[in-house]
Symmetry: C2
Subunit: 224 residues, 2 copies
DNA sequence: CTAAAAAGTTGACTGCGGTCATTTTTTCCG
DNA sequence: CGGAAAAAATGACCGCAGTCAACTTTTTAG
């Protein structure tokens, strides 16, 4: 019976995540004590720390799992032939729904995701990249259909669209937007602006560049 | 001598900030204990908390003060007639210099600034708005000079430019950009993209909107 | 099967941010 | 002045995240 150990480890890890899901959502992240969480998972406090490096790590893995599910839902329902704006709106609003329903948890995730400290787990990062890849794919299709300029640098463009989303979310946290409809409107606005550009005619042309990105060390996949 | 109390309060507050500046920068935020900070300021630990609500509040006020100085430096040196791109680059790179030199402190500030929790001090927010106003002013001048489209919604445009900056900074924290030159390049790129737009000719026109923003409850001042 | 080694579990303990009852200083006013 | 009231300072204390030496379970190998 050499699988006993592995089996137990999987069970414990799941138990911790399940307890965390229950407690973090029900009672809140700050108000949940690790001791309670451990008790609820049927293990000792110290054991928790042989599975996760910190309380926050538990939350981040939990959220990463949720975000993968959300992404799956998007993929299942998205119409890849819809206009770029529509697809981006759908993708971003799916994410915002989660943020709106779990502001405390999402806030911690967003903080860590945008401004991580050194000891970040690579894997969690992958969920963000999954979303960036999706944006990238949407834009690439837009290029193929002629909606977007063909010589665009996709990476810059992807970053900008995602950054539009993050800033609107940030505005929501700060209190500049009140409800779902506000967020939707603002998001639509910035996306449209990104598409149409700020410059006036004579200038716009000269601002167009097509040299590829070389200083942002991230490779996105725009094709499945 | 009825001013004794007021005078002392001002002195203590300054002493705390001075000690914080020294210790947070020298030894780091995490590694500085409140007890040490209090000792260094010549007061008791409890007293610190009658001036600041938390360790983080001290840091945030400290940084807010630094950012005001940085902004002053920018104002003093900025050429208001330079092209929009140049002015924005100068403004953002001034800020990045601070971030680069104090990553730990800046990280905490950026996290709190973008995704604050409920009990945020209004005053600190004002520094961010100061910067947004500056961006707004730069863009407004650009409009006046004909560089930017006159019917642009300044708020949306301002948010987008600032969000370009924040995302590049975020990329730097994550490790997607390595050095000062990378950041500069990427920033330039996204700004140019914001100016020229992503859409191809026939589409670009129809994405242009000129209805003013109504769902983002922030009023910027684009004129001094 | 047994015993030693390896892997995993545990809760008492540590360190630090933040609190609060007590003490000290300052102000007010007769 | 003096002494009462108000304001401020203080450090012992608390709660909780995270550690670690002791202990238990599982695996390995002879």
């Amino acid at each position: 019976m050499s699988g006993k150990r592995e089996q137990n480890k999987r069970k414990n890890r799941q138990a911790i995540l399940a307890a965390a899901q229950q407690l973090f959502i029900q009672r809140g992240f700050e108000k949940t004590r690790i001791d309670d969480l451990a008790r609820s998972a049927g293990i000792g406090k110290g054991t928790v720390y042989s599975y996760f490096a910190s309380k926050e790590e538990i939350l981040l893995e939990l959220i990463a799992n949720m975000r993968i599910k959300i992404h799956q839902q998007f993929s299942d329902n998205n119409d890849a032939n819809a206009p770029v704006t529509a697809q981006l709106m759908t993708l971003f609003m799916c994410q915002f729904d989660f943020v709106e329903n779990n502001p405390e948890l999402a806030r911690i995730m967003l903080r860590e995701s945008m401004f991580p400290d050194k000891n970040t787990v690579e894997q969690r990062n992958q969920v963000d990249i999954k979303y960036l890849n999706t944006v990238s794919a949407i834009l690439y299709q837009g290029q193929q259909r002629g909606e977007l300029r063909g010589e665009l640098d996709l990476l810059t463009c992807t970053l900008q669209m995602y950054s539009n989303y993050l800033t609107i979310i940030s505005g929501w946290f700060i209190g500049y937007t009140r409800d779902h409809a506000d967020v939707r409107d603002c998001l639509q606005r910035t996306i449209l602006l990104s598409l149409s550009g700020c410059a006036s005619e004579p200038f716009a042309e000269q601002y167009k560049t097509n040299t590829p990105h070389q200083n942002f060390y991230l490779n996105l996949r725009c094709k499945d």
